[in-house]
Assembly symmetry: C2
Amino acid sequence: MRLFFLLLLCTTCAFAQEGPVYTDARNFQFIGKGLPTNPVYVRLDTVQTKPMTDAVKYLSTHSAGIAVLFRTNSPYIHARWKLIRGMFYTNISPIAHSGLDLYCLNKGRWQWCGVGRPGDKDTLNNGPLVANMDTTMKEFLLYLPTYNQVTSLEIGVAPGATLSRIEKPAVDTTRRVVIYGSSILQGASAGRPGMAYPSILQRRTGWEFINLGFSGNGKMEFPVAELLATMPAKVFVLDCIPNPSAEEIRTRAYPFIKHLLDKRPEVPILLVEAAIREHGYFDQKVAQVSKDKNDAIREAYTKLKKEGYKQLYYLPATDLTGHDHEGTIDGVHLTDLGFMRQAEVMLPLLEQLMKKSVRVK
Amino acid sequence: MRLFFLLLLCTTCAFAQEGPVYTDARNFQFIGKGLPTNPVYVRLDTVQTKPMTDAVKYLSTHSAGIAVLFRTNSPYIHARWKLIRGMFYTNISPIAHSGLDLYCLNKGRWQWCGVGRPGDKDTLNNGPLVANMDTTMKEFLLYLPTYNQVTSLEIGVAPGATLSRIEKPAVDTTRRVVIYGSSILQGASAGRPGMAYPSILQRRTGWEFINLGFSGNGKMEFPVAELLATMPAKVFVLDCIPNPSAEEIRTRAYPFIKHLLDKRPEVPILLVEAAIREHGYFDQKVAQVSKDKNDAIREAYTKLKKEGYKQLYYLPATDLTGHDHEGTIDGVHLTDLGFMRQAEVMLPLLEQLMKKSVRVK
């Protein structure tokens, strides 16, 4: 009996030694959410999406752009995350659609340090993100999957290590850019969750970016404008033109944008043209469709400018993703190369708009 | 009975009208192969890999870097391709590991124009690459999958369209760079097959590049050096340092490189250091391993230089993939962003070596 307890004690010790010790991520701060939601891992919850299409309802559950902030002095970080279902996308890597992406604050800059690798459509994933670190206290930013729904997330650290909220994180949530758009915005086809362009911009600027990209469904339905108008924001970006038809843009863009302009006169709004679809240089129909859409959004912009809306801005697609035609995976969806280019084009423009917006306040 | 034949005739006509009409790709010219092989879709065949490890034998069947050249005036191009098995890689998109990547010659430059999308581990894939083109005669370059074996490939065009070999293709196969290396070289984690760095360089230079990247297995076994020495080449690049251990580099690099130098004194050889593993900035063990390997290859280089080998060159990893730590999908494998950066660093260096090599001849 004594031997049995001794053995039991040893086993317990061994387990305690081995770690990792897991903590529910809901104990920490999340960024990248336009409004508080229930559950926390979705971009919009069922109350918020009630007047929206089924597609937007569904895509809102994907965690694109959401990240959790925490600090630890653990030599390693593990994660255990549950996904609602296994996914397959021909044009997205599993790490991007169902994995995790970890950054560490290094001399005031967010520096990449690890990924969480999902299995082949596994709904429960578990693995190390980074190991063998020195044990100074560090701040971390962990991006959630772009094209899947997380139902639970736990962060694992070494037994005895501190794991806690960051008191003053290096993300200024008062400087907040809310972006509405398409699959490209949602993060197809970044290599990792943190490489969708809003996340790149978030790390570059230190501001908070809200990714409201709805794959194939950034179609400018009016209830979306009504919801956007309720979100804290210093700048709005509408990068949704790839999704609605030219006809839909002609009927929807004007009331959609006007609502946002009227409800939030203090907030600059940036309209972004649809990047040229790269196969459009060969496929004459595709080229015409892109042209018609950009013509339609430019019309809406011109009309609203004539009506005197000064806080409305326009970004042509001309230089958005470079000129070598190499920035996409399939002609439409940006790779990390395309996303980096788009982020670099948008950065100085957003800096100007943020300056104006903060000055108004 | 007459009605039946009439119906049959109409159906046949309809089918004939609809197309596409398929032609076996083996009728056209392939580039990206170090030596002729049987079958054509592999990088090395079983005769060539006889003295090699089982891993190299297997990975040689993957079609990384192989492309087929053809011309057509068809308004659309389809492909039907068989793969030996379905694949899953957590860090590679299906388009890259099992798909096709199409470029068209436009004013003397290869411009991206379409992809072939594989299904979820489907072994038989079939689909359009590009459509709605004007019907001028155009030249195309179609890259095969990076991380799968193709067992058959057919090109489909519109009935009545011409589909044929290119007489003088815009690829100078006399200016040929043979690169031996790791998973990174093989193309992990490009978004599309054509974005592995040798393929980018091939389009930029107009030369032929041979991709002998063997995922995890570019370990400098002597029989590989013996085979490389038999390949037509104007420049050799050894970018394999990520794979062997520092110990393996110490024992294998010297005889491997010396054999190539002695057998092919007319051919410049470029040694490439292992790019810093991005998690190595946090993971102290990983950092040490990378450093040890680069120290080991630098030793071999220094020794051979002291022996008087003038045609040996060395590229440090310092600037290989940028300085923002964003060029990989998982710390090791380059995305299109990382590949573009590595291609841009290597391009001027390879141009110098090619100039020297051609002058020697």
